[in-house]
């Protein structure tokens, strides 16, 4: 059983937290990962910052800009993962765009993932049609490529889910990442479609910031993914952010566990 499978097996509903690596520094990122795990985060998604993150709202865009300005690079993030693996077995999933992986060399990138202990990768601009750009390189290195399913996916849901690895990332709403007051998409209906073909769990992300939303989305699926709301705390508190993130994640993770009852 790999680390992602173990996380879903252990906690029936998983809270997944996202932060941008290197925002504000890689040292703080390391502390944040360990803190989030302690607070009940079952999987940590680490953003490899990109100059032009077209699927991100303004909060994560700003985090990427800060991280890049601080000198964060893909190689330094791999070093961070290697460091983290001495202290934690929490599943780590990268979120980045096609270009940083392609330019690094997909084979070299996924080999580094395996070597340092990265469990999965989410690539918003690699849709089902272009999956062969990554899968021939990710599979031999046992790195899961987590696909996204959107409210507009309709007839595409079953084929995407059928080849999903790690988990299926369900996009709750149209648009880019960011906090939303209301999520109106009928997630139950989408989850039902996903489960017809998926061999892996599914979790809902985009727009979730309150414990109520997290509980509701986790109840409809296998977990809730929260990014921008955490990144906002990091933006506000910088080096002091871990203790604030701890309190927030603790409350959110408890709400997700509630959904399992």
């Amino acid at each position: 059983m790999n680390r992602i499978e173990a996380a879903f097996a252990k906690q029936k509903k998983v809270f997944i937290g996202f932060i941008t690596a290197g925002d504000p520094t890689l040292a703080v990122t390391k502390e944040l990962v360990l803190t989030m795990e302690k607070a009940g985060c079952g999987i940590v998604e680490l953003g490899i910052p990109f100059s032009d993150p077209v699927a991100e709202g303004i909060v994560v865009q700003r985090a990427d800009t800060r991280a890049l300005a601080a000198g964060t690079t893909t190689d330094k993030i791999f070093d961070l993962v290697a460091e983290l693996r001495k202290e934690t077995q929490v599943p780590l999933v990268f979120l980045t765009y096609a270009n940083p992986i392609y330019t690094y060399g997909a084979d070299r990138f996924f080999a580094k993932c395996e070597e340092t202990g990265v469990d999965g990768v989410i690539i918003p601009d690699i849709p089902y049609e272009e999956r062969e750009e990554m899968l021939p390189y990710s599979r031999p290195h046992h790195v899961a490529v987590v696909p996204l399913v959107a409210p507009t996916s309709r007839d595409r849901i079953q084929k995407i889910s059928a080849v999903a690895e790690g988990y299926v990332y369900l996009v709750s709403s149209l648009g880019v990442t960011g906090v939303r007051e209301n999520i109106t998409t009928d997630m139950e209906a989408i989850v039902k479609e996903v489960r017809k073909t998926a061999k892996v769990p599914c979790a809902v992300g985009f727009g979730i910031s309150t414990p109520e939303q997290a509980k509701k989305m986790a109840a409809a699926s296998d977990g809730a993914i929260v990014g921008s709301a955490i990144v906002k705390i990091v933006e506000a508190h910088g080096e002091d952010s871990p203790r604030y993130v701890y309190d927030y994640v603790k409350e959110m993770a408890a709400a997700v566990r509630e959904a399992a009852k």
Partner: protein
């Protein structure tokens, strides 16, 4: 290989939320691209609204002054709205209308594509929002106001370098939020399939006209066709009909900004490397980690860190030669054409003129060169004055 490929380039690298929108677009485009009624309506608009065919003008004074080959100018600057951009916009907005869309969005660099889209939207009764980098809004204030006069909303994009790539980023983000009722009118032969093919098909009228007009005037094909290249839509439009004629030499001129060896340039073929960005695989200006470079050119329309995938392929197979021209060379050509022929070119098109000024004197008098004058320079007058240190008070 997946759809929409040019050699290894092209593809459909988009967020899942947009996939059904581009597949729907692809299906509609496949349906209408050879539909006689659609094409008849488009060509009626070209003729009666956009002022096509644009003139093919023999630049006699320039020819004599440079002392080499015979030079013709393809006058896309005389189109309605002042550039080749209207060709593509009329095609896409007509398609949007057939698809039942009532709202269009567009990105713009120099503002010419934004103006053309605002124009088409006014004509076809559509709501129109144009995304434009904040730096470009500053460089092209007149075009911002022009779009507003046409009824469009212009949204300045502050992120990144505040230029064309950031406008594309924002248009993609906004399209993700409203893909079900909004048609994205992309301005160049770039982005995910079917855009590169569709934009080329709506622009190829330029080359087809050059062929027919030159046949009438000279009874033969040109020896050289030159065009400036940012994303590359005017160039692919001018080149496409001649790709199958190996004796016609095709030259794309990129913006080298302060110089190809200076970090401040936008010469993608000269300095770029393979990457995946804005929905396509192609060449991009980027660092070793795949971070897209902050590019620069005096020309807001060429100030883009990538190039359309078909151009990338035409470069790979050696069918088109891509060469750089600097800001200084473009401004010199801008002044030269204004004084020599009484034609003020867009600073984008001036890059093509700049290379022609180097090449033409080296060619024999019996050779024929066509320069695609993609747009007019009215929009650039203030920026050129700034560059030349002239203080304008309006």
């Amino acid at each position: 290989m997946t759809k929409g490929r040019y050699g290894i380039h092209g593809g459909q690298y988009l967020p899942e939320t947009l996939m059904n929108a581009v597949l729907e677009l692809e299906e509609a485009y496949e349906h209408y691209r050879n539909d006689p009624d659609f094409l008849a309506e488009l060509h009626r608009l070209y003729r009666e609204y956009a002022n096509r065919p644009s003139l093919l003008y023999y630049a006699k004074k320039m020819t004599e002054d440079l002392g080499g080959c015979k030079i013709y100018l393809k006058r896309e600057d005389l189109n309605h709205t002042g550039a080749h951009k209207i060709n593509n916009v009329l095609g896409q907005i007509l398609l949007a209308k057939k698809m039942g869309k009532k709202r269009v969005i567009a990105e713009t660099g120099a503002g010419q594509h934004g103006v053309a889209t605002a124009t088409g939207a006014a004509l076809m009764n559509m709501e129109c929002v144009v995304y434009m980098g904040s730096e470009d809004c500053e460089r092209q204030k007149l075009n911002v106001f022009r779009m507003q006069l046409l009824g469009a909303e212009v949204v300045p994009v502050e992120s990144g370098t505040g230029t064309l790539k950031d406008a594309v980023n924002e248009a993609l983000r906004v399209w993700t939020a409203r893909c079900e009722d909004t048609f994205y009118v992309l301005g160049s032969c770039m982005g995910p399939h079917p855009y590169p093919a569709m934009v080329r098909d709506f622009q190829k009228v330029i080359g087809e006209e050059i062929r027919a007009q030159l046949q009438e005037k000279e009874g033969r094909l040109p020896d050289y066709v030159l065009a400036c290249v940012g994303g590359g839509s005017n160039a692919i439009g001018a080149f496409y009909d001649f790709i199958k004629e190996p004796e016609v030499k095709l030259i794309g001129v990129e913006a080298a900004g302060l110089g190809v060896d200076d970090p401040k340039n936008a010469a993608t073929i000269s300095n770029g490397s393979l990457g995946i960005f804005h929905g396509m695989k192609s060449y991009f200006l980027q660092d070793e980690y795949g971070q897209i470079a902050p590019v620069y050119s005096i020309s807001a329309g060429l100030d883009y860190p990538g190039i359309g995938p078909e151009h990338a392929h035409l470069h790979d197979i050696g069918r088109v030669q891509y060469v750089p021209a600097t800001d200084a060379e473009a401004v010199e050509a801008f002044n030269y054409l204004s004084k020599t022929e009484g034609i003020i070119p867009a600073v984008e098109s001036a890059h093509a003129v700049a290379h022609a000024m180097k090449l033409a004197p080296t060619l024999p008098k019996d050779k024929i060169m066509v320069i695609n004058l993609s747009g007019r320079g009215d929009k650039d007058v203030a920026a050129i004055a700034r560059y030349m240190g002239v203080d304008l008070h309006e």
